[in-house]
């Protein structure tokens, strides 16, 4: 809760900082803000509280996911240095929008009332619509913003429609009240509850980029400036999946049998489309977009399993995925900027010119592919364990096969970096970004070697 207030204030203060002539102070200030917010978030650990007539409530679940989101933002910002150097005239506004989006994201994991969920989604989404178009002179960025806005607002409307139907069926906005009312509703005679749930589910599925509502993802990711893409695929996705899980567990845990077939169908479809779509890509950035779809599918396995392992598995996987994705986008930003393309070919010979960047990318790809020694492996292991405890063997077979497909496209980058040659110059990376990349690698390996530190937090 404190983090919501702090980040809102910081966002506004930051706008004023933007009036100062020097852009150089901006990034340190925002990083400081985020560090404070992270500290404030962690103070709530093991101190569950509720606010505003229980519209918002913090517990370890919300604190855990808030921490993942704030930490992700903290890791992403150092890569925006080239925007500072370029004297981008609206940089302060973009940073503030990121902070506001973060506020929305935190509301999405802290809500106890559907209205707060809706507000959170709106705050986050509207910020992201603008961010997507922040590269104003790039036609692709404009396209991304437009597509994201049109589709996004449409789906927000669907969520709102669903919330209205849920209110009609249960007479409540509070999760606990909905859960209580839902227990007494027979879905056969009163379909309104399930209709409402389905509409909300469709809306949230869109927000996390799961199939069949994933079509915006590749185009939007491709057009958005890389640093902000990395924000989209980590912070926005984490908020979405955590909100999704919270909604299903707190309000609709009792009607698990009703929504299970739909969710499982979405999960399988997402895994298939994400992984198979990624194979066909020649652009690294579009590959990462499809990869983010596939990871939405893996995350949803926790939802289909829906047992006492799910929450921890979800948190662990979100963190492992966010760290690896930020590292991948971070390297991609430098390589893409220096070599003028986001294709795999841009990575040719990177192992020779920039061993560090290549190594970071390798660790990130291994983690996303779920190979041991990295956090991604244990993330997948925990998710699959949760599902296997429910005897969902066939779902895991699909997921395992898709993981094998994943290795194929993640390794294309590694092959390009180490096994293909190109006459390219060394890429310069500033010290702060280098430090961030190393921290990300250390964290990924730490999660992959001593997973016990992170695996049982909730």
């Amino acid at each position: 809760m404190i983090s919501i207030i702090l980040l809102s204030i910081f966002g506004i203060v930051n706008l004023f900082v933007g009036f100062m002539k020097s852009k150089k102070v901006l990034m340190p200030v925002v990083l400081l803000f985020l560090a404070i917010a992270l500290g404030a978030t962690l103070l709530d650990w093991n101190q569950p509280q509720s606010y505003f007539s229980n519209m918002l409530a913090t517990d370890n679940f919300s604190v855990g996911f808030t921490a993942v989101m704030v930490l992700s933002t903290l890791f992403i910002l150092p890569f925006s240095r080239s925007y500072v150097v370029a004297e981008n005239s609206n940089l302060a506004e973009y940073y503030s929008l990121l902070l506001f989006a973060l506020v929305g994201g935190i509301m999405m994991v802290t809500y106890e009332n559907l209205l707060i969920l809706f507000l959170g989604i709106e705050i986050m989404s509207i910020s992201m619509y603008i961010i997507a178009g922040s590269d104003k002179r790039n036609i692709l960025s404009n396209e991304a913003s437009m597509k994201y806005f049109l589709m996004g607002s449409f789906f927000t409307g669907i969520i709102l429609f669903g919330v209205a139907l849920l209110y009609g069926a249960t007479g409540a906005f509070y999760l606990t009240d909905i859960a209580a009312a839902a227990a007494n509703i027979d879905p056969a005679t009163s379909p309104m509850l399930l209709m409402g749930l389905l509409l909300v589910l469709i809306g949230v599925t869109f927000k996390i980029g799961a199939a069949p509502f994933h079509f915006w993802t590749p185009d939007v990711y491709e057009g958005t400036p890389t640093v902000f893409t990395s924000y989209m695929s980590t912070v926005v996705k984490t908020a979405g999946i955590a909100a999704f899980y919270k909604l299903m567990s707190a309000a609709f845990g009792g009607v698990y049998e009703q929504w299970f077939p739909t969710v499982v169908a979405i999960t399988v479809l997402t895994l298939l489309i994400g992984n198979i779509g990624a194979v066909a890509q020649t652009s690294m950035k579009r590959m990462l977009a499809y990869s983010s779809i596939s990871h939405a599918g893996y995350l949803m396995i926790a939802l289909t399993a829906f047992n006492d392992r799910s929450e921890n598995a979800l948190l662990f996987y979100s963190l492992a995925y966010a760290i690896a994705t930020i590292a991948a986008f971070g390297v991609l930003k430098y390589v893409g900027d220096a070599r003028g393309t986001d294709d795999y070919s841009a990575f040719n010979g990177l192992g020779k010119t920039n061993p560090l960047l290549a190594f970071v990318m390798t660790v990130a790809m291994l983690s996303l592919a779920g190979i041991p020694l990295t956090g991604g492996f244990f993330g997948k292991l925990f998710l699959f364990s949760a599902a296997l405890e429910q005897d969902m063997v066939w779902l895991i077979i699909v997921a395992v096969l898709m993981s094998a497909v994943g290795i194929y496209y993640y390794f294309r980058v590694i092959i390009a970096m180490y096994m293909r040659d190109a006459e390219e110059a060394r890429i310069a990376v500033d010290p702060l970004a280098t430090f961030t990349l190393i921290s990300l690698v250390v964290l990924t390996v730490l999660m992959g070697v001593v997973p016990g530190l992170f695996s049982n937090l909730l």
Binding site: P372, L388, V400, R420, P451
Partner: protein, 482 residues
Amino acid sequence: MLTALIILWPALAALLVLLVKGDSARKVAFGAALVELVLGVWAWINFAPNGSTQFLLNEPWIANAGIMFKVGIDGISLLMVLLTVFLVPLIILSTAKHTYEKPSSFYALILFMQTGLLGVFTALDAFVFYFFWEVALIPIYFIAGIWGGENRVRVTFKFFIYTVFGSLFMLAAFVYLYFQTPGTHSSEEVAFYQLVLDAGTQSWLFWFLFIAFAIKMPVFPFHTWQPDTYTTAPAAGTMLLSGIMLKMGIYGALRWLLPVVPLGVSQWANVALVLAIIGIIYGAIIAIRQQDMKRLVAFSSISHVGLIAAGLFTLNHHGLQGAMIQMLSHGVNVVGMFFIIDIIQSRTGTREIAALGGITQNTPFLSVTFLVLLLATVGLPLTNGFVGEFLLLMGVYQYNAWMGAVAGLTIILGAVYMLRMFQRVMFGEKNEITQGFTDLTFNEKAVLVPLVVMVFWIGLHPNTFLSLSEPAVLKLLDVIKR
């Protein structure tokens, strides 16, 4: 603690090697591998061959899930650990005449792989085993992919996808078994051994586990990655793959397949044996037709591994002990063979059998060591190959006389392709390529002499090693026959 030190030291040394620039990386790596050899021998000296697991380390790893970081050494593990710590320094030394690009990365990867291999051979928890199983794979992928020969990208990628695909099935089986353990669940070896599962479940679990191990060995028909990968990888990579990594598959089957799903094994042992025996004959026949020496030895390796795998699935004492001793012998012999091929290639620039000839005339040392290793590979009495093949064939014969007879063809076919190769490469008239062929240098002798010593040590006094693994194998047989 000793086990942890044995596992961790190469990884730490790898980090050290990364800091060293240029050619001295090899020397540092070699020094580190010698230290590791001392550690391994130290474990051997302090080891009491009584069937128990010693030097145990049991620390919580993922505490809430009941997954322990449990490693230790019993007789079976000890032989594999000794093989690994013995071969890695020789493999590093064998690269002396090559100048690799980025040598520090190359040698760091070799040492890092050693950590993975030793972890596999000492793991006593299924997830620890799987963890190290994949950790061993990543370095060899890069070694073969970056420093390999032509087509390396395609070939190593096929190898990687193939093996990971297999091991994902193993992981799925492990997770399933983990949930079958009582209480708060455990993935320890002993917990898996105590499981009582019905025959139908064990039947599919067998295939999930068998595929992973069969791909690694490789057993026919899962071998298609092997000849290309062995041929393409740099000499050191081929030695690591064939000398040590291949044993991961056999060891894995011995420790995590046979005792875990004994009913599944008894249902499918016949099929596995037939596949293994097809591999013996198939590998040998194709080896006869090879023009490239490295490829020839690669196919002969399929043949030899087929016999070891056949010995495993006989589930009798001779078969398992034969597999143990043959794992050592095969490791020693195949590394020696690949090294000699590397020597010939680096002197003449070719591995084509037809292009060579008359090498014996200038090279007494090379000829003798080559012949010793070659005859050991064929399985001549007094050499290490004889002990292993004899025990294995006896095991297979006990299981089924007809199978034993067919498997026995390996000795005849082996003699055919090996001696043909030796005759054409080493005897005959010198030609312009082999004209100035020089004998072994000091470094090369330093690699080959220990290997030849091992050939005779195992060949003349196999009990040094058989007695180490005997109690552990008997104990394992008790678990399998439970």
